[in-house]
Symmetry: C2
């Protein structure tokens, strides 16, 4: 039994390697929902969709999100309403691009939630519709929203994550991050983490993809207790994030933007950190943070490398 803590694109690519392993017959993926948002009345779960579409081999390989062979006619026509949107309204906005085929997923999810289904129910239904070989569960059925406080004096100072990530292209300085609703949210997946032979922390952003999961009641405690079975993959390689703002956010929020900074964040909950060969010189510094360091190729450029990375992770802790 394998459990994976996952964000979006990096986690999804890593999972492709996990599911190719012969021993990976029982994989549970617990996915961040702090990035979830409601746009145009539709409930959108970006990380769940990225993981689902990727494992279904339906993801657009260039963008890394959304579906391949996508059309954009709904969004193009939504632009017609731009001229009539009243001041202060957030309707009709097109900065969060939704493809036509992708919309079907949000329509289905929204309708199911409206009739009382839980996000876990719908996530499972969607995963089954795509014939996924793993169990995908949202980190919680409750509303948790990652909120970002800007450091550049713009108002409003605090904005929802997607506004920071997509609308502002994560190109503004950040002062702090909090997970609104996390205090009251009931975590899901503890029953998968508890008996797991290996708990893998995917190469996702530690501060905005993995931190929301860790912020839920009992999760960090459970990981600390099962630390011997927990291994993380560094999303930082040679001081940079392969994708997204992890390096910049780490710097801005007082963490060293390196595998050593990642080691410090994960040492309390993971017994091993997998870093890329480019960072081999930092292995000793990583281990001095109290976490075992495994050096391998973490750049998931081929299926073989990705599968080998997943195997290395699992063998490190099980």
């Amino acid at each position: 039994m394998i459990a994976v803590l996952a964000g979006g694109v990096g986690a999804a690519r890593f999972l492709r390697g996990v599911v190719r392993l012969p021993k990976a017959s029982d994989v549970t993926v617990i996915v961040n929902t702090g990035d979830d948002t409601v746009m145009h009345g539709l409930h959108i779960s970006p990380d769940i969709d990225t993981v689902t579409y990727t494992l279904a081999e339906a993801i657009d390989p260039q963008r890394g999100w959304g579906l391949a062979d996508e059309s954009w006619n709904a969004m193009a026509n939504l632009g017609r309403y731009a001229s009539v949107i009243p001041d202060g309204s957030s309707a009709g906005q097109t900065w969060f691009n939704l493809g036509d085929r992708d919309l079907a997923t949000h329509l289905y999810r929204t309708a199911r939630l409206a009739e009382g289904a839980t996000l876990a129910d719908v996530t499972d239904e969607i995963a089954r519709a795509w014939d996924l070989p793993v169990r995908i569960i949202p980190m919680t059925n409750d509303r948790v929203r990652t909120m970002v406080t800007r450091a550049d004096g713009a108002t409003p100072r605090e904005i929802p994550f997607q506004e920071y990530f997509v609308k502002l292209r994560h190109d503004v300085p950040v002062e702090s991050i909090r997970f609104d609703g996390a205090d009251a949210a009931m975590p899901l997946g503890l029953d998968a983490l508890e008996p797991a032979d290996a708990i893998l922390i995917a190469p996702s952003n530690p501060l905005v993809s993995i931190a929301p999961l860790r912020s839920l009641a009992g999760v960090d405690d459970l990981l600390r207790r099962r630390r011997d079975h927990v291994v993380a993959v560094s999303p930082i390689v040679a001081g940079s994030a392969l994708k997204g703002p992890a390096d910049r956010l780490m710097r801005e929020l007082g963490h060293e933007p390196s595998v050593v900074g990642v080691a410090r964040l994960y040492a309390p909950i993971a017994s091993a950190l997998v870093i890329d060969e480019q960072d081999a010189a930092l292995a000793t510094a990583v281990e001095s943070e109290g976490i075992r360091c495994i050096v391998t190729n973490t750049i998931m450029s081929t299926p073989e490398i990705t599968t080998a990375l997943a195997r290395t992770c699992i063998e490190a802790v099980s």
Copy 2:
């Protein structure tokens, strides 16, 4: 000043003639919303959209509803979820077909309603986005739903209008119709009906498109009082509806499916009924119902015929 009471396709075609008249500089269209529905969490106003898209010359001319040059990728992909829809769920249904471009309108409307805008606000914004030369207002901002009771013993006996009209292709016998919520709904457009030089009842279904408007508090009384300025166009020609189930519904609900039956329904509120030349022989029977009968070509097959029909109506009562 001209006011028009409108349903969907027939009314929309008629309105194209009205707006081409030189004197039609101040036209208000009050549109049935009893057909409105929520699908996949989206608020859909079929009659308003048909009128809007038609006047914008953006309607699909073959179907008579939805946008021209449409794609259907969202609905096609929604079909993927058919296999996982739980029993009793109404999510993921594809019988109400929504084009990708058309979805933009529903996304915009849904988002605006969610932030507290009225249906009248949104309808006006959408009309402005399409540069319409008329004022379009929903018959009410409140929730009114046309409910159809089946006469064939199937359960549930009472179903929402779109389920009857689209899903069952209006091919089941009907026992009765009611307008849920009409008692409590506040009508809109009385301020346009009161001073209008001419009030035109479009060639729409009297029982499911015009009746919902008439069911709202004060509307029928106002029309009775202003009867001299009210003219209706019969949607029944030679005993048949040009489109939709008007003839069948009239028969099933105890009305003669002919211009005479239409005359009986409208005589209390309209001083003139415009019927097609094919029904010329029934003009005397119409007038014996206490309503003036005007015979002309009502088959709106060309712009010229449509414009002439609109002119005939206005001249009849103003």
